[in-house]
């Protein structure tokens, strides 16, 4: 009998499983992550854990203003995540959400600044058109080279982020107000030209409604349209797509056009609806967080609402801990990172099963 070393366990891929099982694992991972975050916070602040979780909730639900900020931030993150999703479904790693949204924001701000004497309706219409076009263009450039020459889109889109950042930094100096500050202050503070109207008596409500519509639209587009089907086929196997007569190049270009356009819309909402100003940090890393939102939500717009809400909720909670206990505001990033590691890791237990290898002695009997 030859003596080969047998591993203690082996890993098997799971087949289909009921949805509540996989979401049970994810929920368990989130609970574990929260416990871990609570431990870290307790260590750092020497405060009891219940107090810390109370503070996290206070950060999001403490006042109606905080709650609206929570919803607004969730909507913005979700908007960019929705934009990236069709590209990801096609296995096109669009890491350029940041740059595409910045391009949209830049176009919107340009309209507000250069057309400040025009009627409000004209300015807003121009903002909508130019910012969506700018975002689409920013997404189309990597897609064109990917479709034509197979250029790596991961790195191309990543670099486009910094090109956009520097472009915004350039215009921040060109349009600086007041002179010498290097910043564009609030644009048109008196005339409010290009500011989106308030609905329901709240300045964030319009943004939230628009993003909700985009989410529903994206869900239908991905699941019930021919385009959505083509995207899924290209993502599963490019060869199959070619075989059934789908023009892969065309799908890549079209999908990235949509992806970039929605990112541009996110930039528009940030400038026109929320901040009414422009700076290089306006997108605030959402382009990267959105990658994780989309991936954690399994590229399903409905689940993505939940994941983006979760991440923003935790981020705001961690921010509240930081201010309450006099910590550095980067504390939130650490907690977000820890939670992400747990959720990323738990996917393994959903897809695979570890089974102990039966000892070979038993088999001999």
């Amino acid at each position: 009998m030859n003596k080969t070393k047998q591993p203690l366990f082996h890993i098997v891929k799971r087949g289909e499983m009921p949805w509540y099982f996989s979401w049970g694992i994810r929920a368990a991972a989130i609970v574990l992550a929260l416990i871990c975050c609570g431990l870290i916070s307790t260590l750092v602040t020497a405060e009891n854990p219940i107090q810390i979780f109370a503070t996290i909730f206070d950060g999001s639900f403490g006042s109606s203003r905080k709650f609206m900020v929570l919803l607004q931030n969730t909507a913005m993150l979700l908007c960019i995540a929705l934009a990236l999703t069709p590209a990801f479904k096609m296995r096109f790693w669009n890491l350029g959400g940041e740059g595409q949204a910045l391009a949209g924001a830049l176009a919107a701000a340009a309209c507000m600044i250069l057309m400040k004497d025009q009627p409000n309706v004209v300015v807003i219409l121009c903002m909508v058109v130019t910012s969506i076009l700018a975002g689409a263009l920013w997404g189309l450039a990597p897609a064109y080279f990917k479709a034509k020459f197979g250029t790596s889109e991961t790195l191309f889109t990543l670099m486009m982020n910094y090109v956009a950042t520097q472009l915004v930094a350039y215009f921040s100096v060109v349009w600086e107000n007041p002179k010498g500050s290097g910043n564009i202050g609030v644009i048109n503070p008196k005339s409010m030209v290009g500011w989106f109207p308030e609905i329901f008596g709240n300045k964030y409500a319009l943004n939230i409604v628009i993003v909700a519509l985009v989410a529903i639209g994206m869900y239908i587009y991905l699941n019930y349209s021919k385009h959505g089907y083509e995207i899924a086929v290209v993502g599963e196997s490019e060869r199959t797509a070619r075989y059934v007569g789908i023009k892969v190049e065309k799908i890549i270009l079209r999908t990235m056009l949509i992806s970039g356009a929605i990112c541009g819309l996110a930039g528009l909402l940030l400038v026109g609806g929320t901040n009414h100003t422009l700076n290089a940090a306006i997108v605030d890393g959402r382009g990267f967080t959105a990658v994780m939102v989309s991936w954690l939500g399994k590229f399903n717009p409905i689940w993505m609402v939940l994941t983006s809400f979760l991440l923003v909720f935790l981020g705001r909670g961690a921010g509240e801990i930081a201010t309450d206990f006099g910590l550095n505001s980067s504390f939130g990033d650490i907690l977000t990172g820890v939670i992400l590691f747990f959720i990323i890791g738990c996917e393994f237990f959903i897809n695979y099963k570890i089974s102990l290898t039966k000892s070979s002695k038993k088999e001999e009997k």
């Binding site: 191309f156 990267f288 991936w295 550095n328 980067s330 504390f331 990172g337």
Partner: protein, 332 residues
Amino acid sequence: MLEAILSFLPRAIAQGIPLLYGSTGEIITQKSGNMNLGIPGVMYVGGICGVIGAFLYEQSLPSPEALNPFLAVLIPTLFCLLSSLLMGLLFCFLTVTLRANQNVTGLAMTTFGVGFGNFFGGSLIKLSGADIPFLALSATSNCFKKTIPGADQLGWFGKLFLNYSFLVYLAVAIALIASFVIKRTRTGLHLRAVGENPNTADAAGINVNRHKYLATCIGCMIAGLGGLYYVMDYAGGIWANDAFGDRGWLAIALVIFTVWRPNVGVLASFLFGGLYILHMYIPSGMNLAVKELYKMIPYVVTIIVLIISSLRNQRDKQPPQALGLPYFREER
């Protein structure tokens, strides 16, 4: 003119060294088929852990004169290497053992690492009780900055080639060694095989997971040294939050720019360092806006190189074939 070049080149080199560390680390990682987008985070963690080590050591001394230069260098370096190693292990555990998506894991690591750096940086600044928004460890930094004695008296040759601290020469040495190992040794051959086609490598009896773990962890430790060099040498021992900036992403850009060759990376990183500070040397008068456009140059250059390398489609200038894909033996 000579004076201008003599002041520009050493600064470009000093600026390029963190990029060189980062890109050498990332090349080794990518050769094993792992695309580690967490390198910017790793460099932050490496930098801040070096600072923590130096801070603890300086605080433990009865007086600043008692500083032992050897320990002052050794302790931060060990802290930096250990922390980067942990980051590398985390990435490997998630992507190799748990087969998670590499892009998502990498981005999460960058979020975590940058937050980690800024949080502990901010806390140490508070602990030191100063009114200034940064932490100065000049005593430790002076030990890191030791150059060869008398080098600056050797004319232009000394100024250009000999007047650097040991971390600069170490970066160049690591890059050259890495290049040799990847190209000329059996270990390198195995590593490349794993990155190109893990199925074949596995069939040939190469342990795929072990190669991925080793390459990624070593890569992270090298990248972490880049963070250490930046704080201790380039910035003179001064930690200010977010000062390291987006150099980590530039290091990843360099990987493509050098078509996965660390020896090319030596010169390319100096070139990028030069491009990074070019905006200070181009006379633009009072027009501050144009400077922002010049800062775009490294990224635009990278995009152009990326396009050209895919256009020419030479087989020796392509990314490793299995880059970014997880490997599972039972899945074909």
